[in-house]
């Protein structure tokens, strides 16, 4: 059984940034956790009732209140400021790389349909093809997913990429990411969407650019759904 607090392997450019922010939080909360819990146990042991023991009449300490108000405040606000840049980088639509390769992904009960441009290279034209439950992308290339949903809210979760975004019917939400190594990884639904929610899984395969081009060409030639 894995009781580890270490994050699993990550394969995207966001991964290390998110993971290191996680570790920063883990360190801070870990130190606070041990400090407070050990103090708690220590006080319970040291000040437990014994015959003849009397408590000291202490109502408070203004300086202590100030210290333990300002210190947590500084820490949490510091964390917030520290995280802002990463949040913007991931979520701000205006910061999505202009050269991102764009795919439409439409979630529906209970499958993922990824629409790729056809031979004309344009998304949204008649020659587009749909890959069902299996995304294919090139490595080291920013990818932009225009995330949509047909029926209810789903959530596009690529755990190894540290990517998650709700797919909301009536909305078209951009999500971007860039893979750093090839391989086959997980696509999961992370928002309860009905009785098939638990099996709304797919895969995302990262190819080298050459392999991806070959795959794409093959799909465009067939014009068929990929299984």
């Amino acid at each position: 059984m894995n009781f580890s607090w270490l994050m699993p392997e990550t394969v995207s450019t966001f991964g290390p940034a998110i993971d290191s922010l996680y570790y920063v939080i883990l360190w801070i909360t870990g130190i606070v956790f041990f400090a407070t819990e050990i103090t708690l146990v220590y006080f319970l042991v040291k000040y437990r009732h014994k015959e003849g023991r009397k408590a000291e009449y202490i109502v408070g300490n203004h300086k202590a209140e100030v210290i333990w108000t300002i210190t947590p405040f500084v820490i949490v606000v510091g964390l917030a400021l520290y995280s802002k840049g990463l949040w913007d980088e991931i979520r701000d639509p205006s910061l999505i790389p202009a050269d991102a390769y764009t795919i439409d992904v439409i979630a529906k009960q209970f499958e993922w349909n990824a629409t790729y441009p056809g031979p004309d290279g344009q998304l949204g034209t008649g020659d587009d093809f749909v890959a069902r439950n299996a995304l294919h992308i090139p490595v080291d290339q920013p990818i932009r997913v225009n995330l949509q949903a047909e029926d209810v809210i789903h959530s596009f979760f690529l755990p190894e990429f540290r990517v998650k975004q709700d797919a909301v019917p009536g909305m078209n939400t951009p999500v971007w990411f860039e893979a750093t190594r090839t391989g086959e990884f997980t696509l999961a639904c992370a928002e309860l969407c009905g009785l098939g929610h638990y099996r709304m899984k797919g895969s995302i395969t990262v190819h080298s650019q050459a392999e991806f081009d070959a795959w794409l060409a093959g799909q465009q030639a067939n014009g068929e759904d990929d299984q």
């Binding site: 580890s4 909360t29 202490i58 408070g60 300490n61 209140e65 991931i90 809210i153 019917p169």
Partner: protein, 600 residues
């Protein structure tokens, strides 16, 4: 210093009265009886919620296996005792629904608000006793409707306790039709219990305090319930409005949240969480208040930083209104809002931190008596620390991208709601049981229940953090569908087994509770040697509570005062009449003579 004529004393009501069984036990307007009624009803629904959790954990621990006694369930739920995916979705939904609305809220606000507020402020009952009775009766009626929803065609609601639209707007998405409607109707109804209760609590605390009970002499338990009442008053109606609009979408064909008619699914989330976030503070504040009483009393020491504790409660309540978007970081809402909500969410950690340090400060240099209430109280502190710290991972929005809708959140919420609220309730129940029922609970059984609960609670919920770190999503009927989660099955089984043990251990508590009703040691007025007014009257208190109106001379935490004879100094004990001009007992600004205590 003369004895003055204050308001006419409330007459004692010790004379035998005979209202009959119905007026005494069923339709009582006495706040103490109503507290007991809330207690029995909410403990029943705690059992219901626990059974539902057990079934969830069976499926996760032993996926696809026939559940013990599962053959009792109809085939629409668990054919051959094997839980179906649609029933699983109902289980997670109804587990949370029953626990939040029918167990925790009635126990925290209904039981302790009713029991403590009038007694701690020196009043003879609530401001509106008949309204109070109505407030109680709404709860079991709504609860019965919620239970009934299991037995309609299509089964009980299965869209999560958060009931996100458009999933919840139509049975075409969930397979649940009447069940989803009954869920809404039940919650609309039970909201009135909270609203009317809140009107009562707020009015009572403002208007019915005994002479000398100034705002900053009110015990923290009552303070926390007063502030919680404000949250209930203002947050629950928001939910009621949203539930009504969703009900219209389900029944009369409106499209507030359905995209078919240009409805806005995110509008539902905003309404729900605008209620939902104050709601979680509703679920924790009373526990915090009770734990403060118990830690101070059992350490024989004033609460450290009483004023700061009150301000922290108020700050939590106030800030709780402006953080709701942290439930929606990944929802598709404008990312700029993500930043503002992250900022406010981080700030709300601060008053909780202040309270934690103040609890530690209370224990420091105390004379700590390790009885069951104290053990539960410090457990609350230790587990709330974990729950609060784990929240920080989600508050930092980029990290929330990974943890949202995973078991990390399930761990966090159960640390604050079970580790926090439930242990806080154990603390409150074991402490005030003598006052309610006139007898002490069995101390040995109490300690056994505590230690086993603490151990198996942690073994159940702590590993869920690790499941979240591995990326396991929540509300998933069968994680083994995903290769990356298959290695987690042993952990899930481990958690399930510990949960079953944790649940079974609660039988000790139930046994202790029932046994002590008849066989517990007689409690007397003040078994804990506490300062607050409820301990100055018999256990249980008679109708009208106080033989004559108490007069309050000091704050509630004068424990181990150097000038006092004993290590406690009840709020209503008059100052000792002057013994040769000493400062003890002679009227001082703090021990205000009766005339000037009126009209604070």
């Amino acid at each position: 210093m003369s004895t003055t004529t204050v308001a006419e004393p409330h007459a004692g009501h010790e004379e035998h009265h005979d209202l009959g069984f119905v007026r005494t036990y069923l339709f009582s307007t006495d706040h103490k009886m109503i507290a007991r009624q809330f207690l029995f009803v909410s403990l029943f629904f705690l059992l219901v919620g626990g059974i539902l959790a057990g079934m969830v954990r069976w499926q996760l621990g032993f996926p696809g296996q026939p559940m013990p006694f599962g053959n009792l369930l109809p085939d629409t739920m668990a054919p051959g005792g094997i839980i179906l995916p649609e029933f699983y979705n109902s289980l997670v939904t109804m587990h949370a629904t029953f626990m939040v609305f029918f167990a925790l809220m009635p126990m925290l606000a209904g039981v302790f608000g009713n029991l403590l507020i009038p007694l701690q402020i020196g009043a003879d009952d609530m401001a509106f006793p008949k309204l109070n009775m109505l407030s109680f009766w709404i709860t079991p009626v709504a609860g019965a409707i919620m239970l009934a929803s299991f037995f309609v065609e299509g089964g009980a609601a299965g869209a999560g306790w958060t009931s996100y639209a458009p999933l919840s707007t139509s049975g075409e998405w969930t397979g649940v039709y009447m069940g989803q409607i009954l869920w809404l109707v039940s919650l609309i109804i039970v909201g009135f219990s909270s609203i009317t209760g809140a009107v009562n609590y707020v009015s009572t605390v403002i208007n019915m305090r005994a002479p000398g009970m100034t705002w900053f002499r009110i015990p923290l338990a009552t303070w926390s319930l007063f502030i919680t009442a404000w949250l209930l008053l203002l947050a629950v109606p928001i939910l009621t409005g949203g539930l009504i609009l969703l009900l219209f979408d389900q029944t009369i064909g409106t499209a507030f949240f359905r995209t078919a008619g240009s409805g806005e699914p995110l509008l539902w989330q905003h309404i729900f969480w605008f209620f939902g976030h104050p709601e979680v503070y509703i679920l924790i504040l009373p526990a915090m208040g009770m734990v403060s009483e118990v830690i101070a009393c059992r350490s024989r020491k004033p609460i450290f930083g009483y004023h700061a504790m009150v301000l922290a409660l108020a700050a939590i309540a106030f800030l709780g209104w402006i953080v709701w978007g942290h439930h929606m970081f990944q929802s598709g809402m404008n990312p700029m809002l993500g930043m503002t909500f992250m900022a406010t969410t981080m700030v709300i950690a601060v008053p909780s931190a202040i309270k934690t340090f103040n609890w530690l400060g209370t224990l420091w240099k105390g004379d700590i008596h390790f009885d069951t209430p104290l053990l539960h109280g410090v457990s609350f502190v230790s587990l709330f620390i974990i729950g609060g710290l784990s929240g920080i991972f989600m508050a930092v929005a980029p990290v929330d991208i990974y943890f949202h809708d995973t078991y990390f959140i399930v761990a966090h919420l159960h640390y604050v709601l079970v580790g926090g609220s439930l242990f806080g309730l154990f603390c409150g129940i074991t402490f005030w049981y003598p006052k309610m029922f006139g007898r002490m609970m069995h101390e040995g059984l109490g300690k056994i229940h505590w230690v086993l609960s603490f151990i198996f609670y942690n073994l159940t919920f702590f590993p869920m953090h690790n499941l979240g770190v591995q990326g396991m999503m929540r509300r998933i009927y069968d994680p083994n569908q995903y290769e990356f989660l298959q290695a987690l099955q042993p952990m899930n089984t481990f958690i399930s087994i510990n949960m079953f043990i944790f649940a079974s251990v609660q039988a000790i508590f139930v046994f202790n509770f029932l046994w002590s009703l008849k066989k517990g040691k007689e409690a007397g007025n003040n078994p804990w040697k506490s300062n607050t007014l409820e301990w100055t009257v018999p256990s249980p208190p008679p109708h009208g509570n106080f033989p004559q109106m108490p007069i309050v001379y000091r704050g509630p935490y004068e424990y181990s005062h150097p000038d006092a004879e004993e290590d406690y100094w009840p709020q209503d004990m008059p100052p000792v009449s002057d013994t040769g001009g000493q400062s003890v007992g002679a009227p001082t600004p703090e021990t205000v003579p009766p005339e000037s205590v009126l009209g604070d």
